[in-house]
Symmetry: C2
Amino acid sequence: MANSGKVSGAVVRRLPGYYRYLCDLERDGLVRISSQELGSRMGLTASQIRQDINCFGGFGQQGYGYNVSELRKRIGEILGLDEQYSMVVVGAGNIGQGLAKYSGFRRQGFVVKAMFDRHPEHIGAQADDVAVLPVEELEEYVRENQIAIGVITTPAASAQQICDVLVKGGVRAIWNFASVDLNVPEGIALQNVHLSDTLMVLSYHMRNQRPKD
Amino acid sequence: MANSGKVSGAVVRRLPGYYRYLCDLERDGLVRISSQELGSRMGLTASQIRQDINCFGGFGQQGYGYNVSELRKRIGEILGLDEQYSMVVVGAGNIGQGLAKYSGFRRQGFVVKAMFDRHPEHIGAQADDVAVLPVEELEEYVRENQIAIGVITTPAASAQQICDVLVKGGVRAIWNFASVDLNVPEGIALQNVHLSDTLMVLSYHMRNQRPKD
């Protein structure tokens, strides 16, 4: 087993990209790929690729490239994708419902078990097969169903409180879409997806780099 | 006017965070804030804050801190948020519909004008007030309605082709949610939001940093 405990955050953030590219290559029937070729597809240098992959132990032989299936499988294991994760989505608004219904996550092993909302008009509504439950039941539900990931799509003002309840219930990770930075105790994984932030980066570039007209 | 043309990508990616924090502070009625205080809220050092903000010209006076409203307004201008942007969403699946219906973007000046889809069963359906049109009409619609931003939520396999059509129609920016890295010509802004990638980073951390049990 490679020692993946010391891997830098930047390498970890690149791993899903490797996984995506390797899945595509495997689907296209490619058996081996060189670090040069993989790098040119991913917009990285061959040496960067070799360094990243070496973090996880010995893959490939100098001059022979990597076995695509083997490397895809091993990176999947490193990413923990050989396990299934149950999730709850808190906040049954449009973004929450979109995420809960999206089948792509389920295919990758991330399964939404229930949604929660504070507003009665949402409660009981079904986002496809996912029930919307009252937020008062959140902590108990998380504990009893051993939910691994709490997805937060509430307004910013209630996000930290919901996060605390999820952590108290026993989730191991928070996937936050609320427009606020959250605090979690050590040992709990956190990813913030600030959708509006990426839109603002787009408008920045439109303002500062207008196309010639 | 500050020369914001030479600002690094890292500073640009931090700007929406500044904007968010300053909006919250303004809402809470705070008039002035020091770089120390802003830094401690944002998890940055005071010197980092001063450096970032100095990229955009002279704000605040040594020892007096920043005027919250003024700085919020100026960063909003730098981000181009004093303008309204029209968007189309291509791909009327769950993620696409969630984004199209979400009112938060509209409040920030990003307005979805129409959705497009290839599949007849989605076409004509209404995501609230947004019509779903056939993808064959995309290029003409973008051109005639001077759409600024194309949002792509299609399967990975068709995303690059849709991107090319959007660019041909005249969009200035692409907001990509498809699970593939896209190529755009120079002068077109691009932000990839690979939702699955952030989920995989969560599962990596769950695999590699299990809570003590």
